[in-house]
């Protein structure tokens, strides 16, 4: 039997004005378990808290009920008070007689009656309370960053800077991501490589950072502070630690007809390749889909020319298992496929390109060595049409495209247009747009420069059709402001393709039990207040995997995610929320209903041996709750038909006791 103390607060006149506090404390004296009941002007004041502490000591209280303001206000205060007096903080219940009684009712008599009922419900509950202790779990002080683009790089560098080891898993042979493919960056027009490659070198040289390039995450188990991850290092058929990156093999390889993905397929590479000159790690990779030696067993040129002896045709995929305390998803984006956008003739003409392809065409390390030449005939284009929002801001019911704004297209198109006019003033540049969105520091100024200083023709309206005619591309479009149809004979058409999350994000989210929105962007724990955390504890979000964003925004978010990771890894132990689900093995059917409704993947199963009444042993599947992962929502408790699953702090018996007390 509990020994319960009841403390009724006047809250000055806030409660006492509508509720007869004396009567309340008197009435609750007679409730089962109550051995002490009093009232005081301000329970939350030092003097009020001392009354509680003294009563706990004097009356050997095992639980207390404070009839006061909302638990959202002072529950934490009174829990501390109880703990200071040696009582478990979870032996405290609050009856909310201010916000939910005195402030909303006018009549003293009925207000008092209600306060008594609320007090009785709290007493009934605390009678069934049990001391709770938050679970502790150790933290593995190592972070995993999945994705080696600018987001992953920045996050890893910041975490390493704070002294924690970090691993980056990148599925491509090099880190660098999309930013490595860009030419210049808005709004300052620094060259992407000039600001990115030093960071890539920093990553390579940082002894706290390991790079698993050409690798993928295979399996993720565990929970916050204690993840176990299996990483598949794909066979690159080159010994990473032996290869010097001299590149001789990439020049001698006889298989020359491999589309070069780094240049968006606009030129070719060899079957053995280093994606680009500043690749990190600077190690060759053999493409098994094209290598003659791997396919037919006949060739071996690269092995012959490699003076370091790094080529190894027998290399196998390797699985590495490592433990991590925190995981950051930085899986990035891709432009959507243009296959469904036939009206722009992307698949019919080589001279209709996406913006990312345009980046490669203007990049000094690109297929044309930075000269803006048409892919079809290598001639200099004199009229260029840029089409905005290709697949962005589409109708919800449209079969193609995305509903959202891809956010970066307005700015990079302004950049493309401006740079084109700067280098080739004889070129006419048209930009067709729905709206021009430039909400960023120095963004609108940048866009206006394109229009005002560089004379780019911005036309509000959409392009209806692009049709190749001879060596021209006939662009039919509408000018909404002038209210007329336009026909432009263009040499080059550039499509601002919408961006979408990388395809690897969805399976990764499943492995992480992290939630995603309908567009496959990772969902943040709170859209405003916890933007870099996933609802799954210990999983953080960096860069475009969470939503479209530009480089400055990506880098800020990457650093923010790093700060969250550092905050987590700095702890030696994690204290959990003790109000978590609890499964009674004896009653559990092992039916998996609870597991299916758990948003956190906190429930697992084990086959356990039980002695049956007839002394035989039976093996039964039973649910187990990982207290470090459970957030205490209680979805499982209702999904469970047998009632084996209960929630500490909000137990079935406690809620029923409250119901009974109210309905009595």
């Amino acid at each position: 039997m509990q020994r319960i103390g009841v403390f009724v607060c006047w809250c000055g006149s806030n409660i006492a004005g509508t509720v007869d506090v004396e009567k309340v404390s008197e009435a609750l004296k007679n409730e089962p378990g109550v051995v002490f009941s009093t009232n005081y002007q301000y329970m939350c004041s030092q003097a009020g808290q001392d009354i509680i502490k003294d009563a706990i000591a004097e009356h050997k209280l095992t639980g207390i009920v404070v009839c006061s303001c909302s638990p959202r206000m002072h529950e934490a205060t009174f829990r501390k008070t109880a703990a200071a007096a040696g009582l478990n903080s979870y032996m405290v219940e609050i009856a909310n007689i201010r916000e939910q009684c005195s402030w909303v009712h006018k009549d003293m008599q009925s207000g008092t009656e209600k306060a008594i009922i609320l007090g009785k419900a709290a007493v009934a509950k605390v009678n069934l309370n049990a001391p709770l202790t938050p679970g502790e779990s150790p933290v593995t002080k190592r972070a995993l960053v999945i994705g080696g683009g600018i987001a992953g790089i920045q996050t890893a560098l910041d975490i390493a800077e704070a002294g924690f080891p970090v691993d980056i898993v990148e599925k491509k042979p090099t880190i660098g991501g999309k930013m490595a493919q860009l030419d210049k960056t808005f709004p300052t027009l620094d060259c992407a490589a000039c600001i990115l490659t030093p960071k890539m070198v920093d990553v390579a040289q940082n002894d706290k950072i390991r790079i698993f390039s050409y690798s993928e995450v295979e399996e993720i188990g565990g929970f916050v502070g204690n993840f176990t991850v299996k990483i598949k290092k794909k066979a690159r058929y080159v010994k990473e630690d032996v290869c010097t990156g001299c590149g001789i093999c990439t020049e001698k390889c006889p298989q020359k007809k491999v589309p070069n993905e780094f240049n968006m397929g606009m030129d070719n590479r060899r079957a053995v390749y280093i994606p680009f000159a500043q690749a990190v790690p600077k190690v060759a990779t053999i493409d098994p889909n094209y290598c003659t030696m791997l396919k037919t067993g006949k060739c071996g040129v690269c092995a012959k020319v490699c003076t370091a002896g790094a080529i190894d045709y027998t290399q196998k995929d390797e699985i590495i298992e490592e433990k991590y305390g925190a995981i950051v998803a930085a899986t990035g984006f891709n432009p959507i496929s243009m296959d469904k956008f036939d009206e722009f003739a992307y698949n019919q003409s080589k001279d209709v390109i996406t913006s990312l392809e345009f980046e490669r065409l203007t990049n000094a390390a690109g297929p044309t060595a930075g000269k803006l030449l048409r892919p079809s005939d290598g001639k200099h284009p004199h009229t260029i049409v840029f089409v905005q929002c290709v697949g962005s801001r589409c109708d919800a019911c449209a079969e193609k495209g995305k509903e959202y704004c891809s956010k970066i297209c307005c700015m990079y198109t302004a950049k493309h247009a401006m740079l084109t006019r700067d280098k080739y003033p004889d070129t006419d540049v048209y930009v067709f747009y729905i709206d021009v969105r430039t909400p960023g520091k120095a963004f609108d100024e940048f866009y206006r420069r394109a229009v005002e200083e560089y004379g780019v023709h911005y036309i509000k309206g959409m392009v209806g059709k692009v049709s190749p005619e001879g060596d021209k591309l006939m662009v039919r479009a509408s000018d909404l402001l002038a209210n007329k149809q336009l026909n432009i004979a263009a040499d080059l058409v550039v499509l601002a393709a919408a961006i979408e999350p990388d395809k690897s994000a969805r399976p990764l989210a499943t492995m992480l039990t992290a939630s995603m929105d309908t567009n496959d962007f990772f969902t943040e724990a709170h859209p405003k207040l916890r933007p870099v955390e996933s609802p799954t504890a210990g999983v953080f979000l960096s860069g475009t995997c969470q939503g479209p964003k530009d480089i400055p925004e990506t880098v800020s978010q990457a650093s923010a995610a790093a700060a969250k990771v550092i905050g987590l890894l700095a702890k030696d132990k994690l204290m959990g929320n003790p109000c978590v689900a609890q499964s009674n093995e004896l009653m559990c059917n092992g039916c998996s209903s609870c597991e299916r409704v758990c948003p956190y993947g906190a429930i697992t199963y084990a086959d356990k041996e039980f002695r049956m009444p007839d002394r035989t042993v039976a093996i039964r599947r039973v649910a187990m709750v990982n207290e470090a992962v459970c957030q205490g929502c209680g979805a499982c408790t209702v999904a469970c038909p047998s009632g084996a699953m209960d929630l500490k702090g909000f137990a079935t018996s406690q809620i029923i006791a409250e119901v009974d007390a109210i309905c009595k």
Binding site: M587, N589, S592, R596, A618, R621, G643, S653
Partner: protein, 328 residues
């Protein structure tokens, strides 16, 4: 088509037990009367030859027995499954309730089972013996009268509204498999839905007030397989057993139906065993009908591993207040 007879099942059971495929057989044996068969476990061929019975009253759904039986001893358990039983079988597998490896399931076709209440209604009480001949039952009574009644006229309600002659799981099939059937099983639910609130209350008051809380519906239900039932657990808040007024049974039956909602295969065992002839299947079918209407057609046990509607959701689900039409 291979005719399923008591003899052919005995033959199959003996064969499987003698060649070591299984070590035990779940089957039917004679109860007090020909029409009240009792589920039984047979451990050898002699027992099977002596006591195994299969006739028009072999309605019991054996899937549930597998939970306890597979936990005992070595070897596999042979179970005969009618098409409707295979749905429960699959549902139990979905819920990991028994080890599939320990079961040898033989699917048997079914033309429907007889309802003894309907037989009695047709030929009177005092039945001594019932035998089957073609599509007829030959009923002998205490007075030496012999009456004939067509099986089709005395089919159990669940068989009249049979949802499927197709087996959804088996290791071996005797005879040929049938098809999923069109049926009118929701007609009665609809009839109730179309009544006024007061009429519906009166209907259920009349039905449920007869409940004697014998728990037969729960004990036979292949979805009610909890290690410990909430109604037997003093901490659950619904444990009271005495029937002191009309509500007690309502609480029991609402919660029971809710606990099996989305998991109930509509096998009809609850109504079959109810000694008070309460149409309990009408509660379960209401949930099935609502689930189909609100969340799309779902048949529990049709596909092993399928996600039950109550442990699933979409962002566009119907609002509870709209699930009940506010105007009437």
């Amino acid at each position: 088509m291979q005719k399923i007879t008591c003899e052919s099942l005995i033959e199959k059971a003996c064969e499987l037990i003698e060649n070591g495929t299984v070590s035990r057989v779940i089957g039917w044996k004679k109860g007090e009367f020909d029409y009240d068969l009792t589920p039984a476990v047979f451990a050898n061929a002699d027992e099977i030859k002596k006591n195994f019975i299969y006739n028009d009253f072999s309605g019991a759904n054996f899937s549930k027995y597998l939970i306890k039986e597979t936990r005992k001893g070595e070897g596999k358990v042979l179970v005969f499954l009618k098409p409707c039983d295979t749905y429960s079988f699959n549902q139990l597998l979905t819920e990991h309730r028994f080890d599939r490896e320990k079961v040898y399931a033989v699917g048997i076709p079914c033309e429907g089972m007889a309802d003894i209440a309907k037989v009695k209604a047709a030929v009177g009480d005092g039945i001594l013996k019932i035998t089957s001949e073609g599509d007829e039952l030959i009923v002998e009574n205490l007075y030496g009268d012999v009456n004939k009644v067509k099986l089709a006229d005395v089919l159990a309600e669940r068989c009249v509204n049979c949802k499927s002659k197709k087996h959804t799981a088996y290791d071996e099939l005797m005879g040929e498999d049938g098809e999923i059937l069109d049926n009118n099983r929701f007609d009665e639910v609809e009839k109730l839905e179309n009544m006024t609130e007061d009429e519906r209350f009166a209907f259920w008051q009349n039905e449920l007030s007869r409940c004697i809380r014998c728990n037969a519906c729960r004990d036979v239900c292949p979805a009610c397989t909890c290690e410990k039932c909430v109604f037997d657990n003093p901490k659950s808040g619904v444990e009271n057993k005495a029937i002191a007024d009309s509500f007690e049974e309502k609480m029991f039956h609402i919660i029971r139906a809710f606990h099996v909602a989305g998991r109930c295969t509509d096998c009809g065992e609850c109504s079959r065993v109810c000694p008070q002839n309460i149409p309990l299947h009408l509660l379960n079918r209401k949930f099935i009908k609502d689930i189909n209407t609100f969340y799309g057609e779902y048949q529990a046990g049709e596909v092993e591993g399928s996600r039950a509607p109550l442990v699933n959701y979409t962002e566009e689900d119907i609002e509870p207040n709209d699930a009940v039409k506010r105007e009437e």
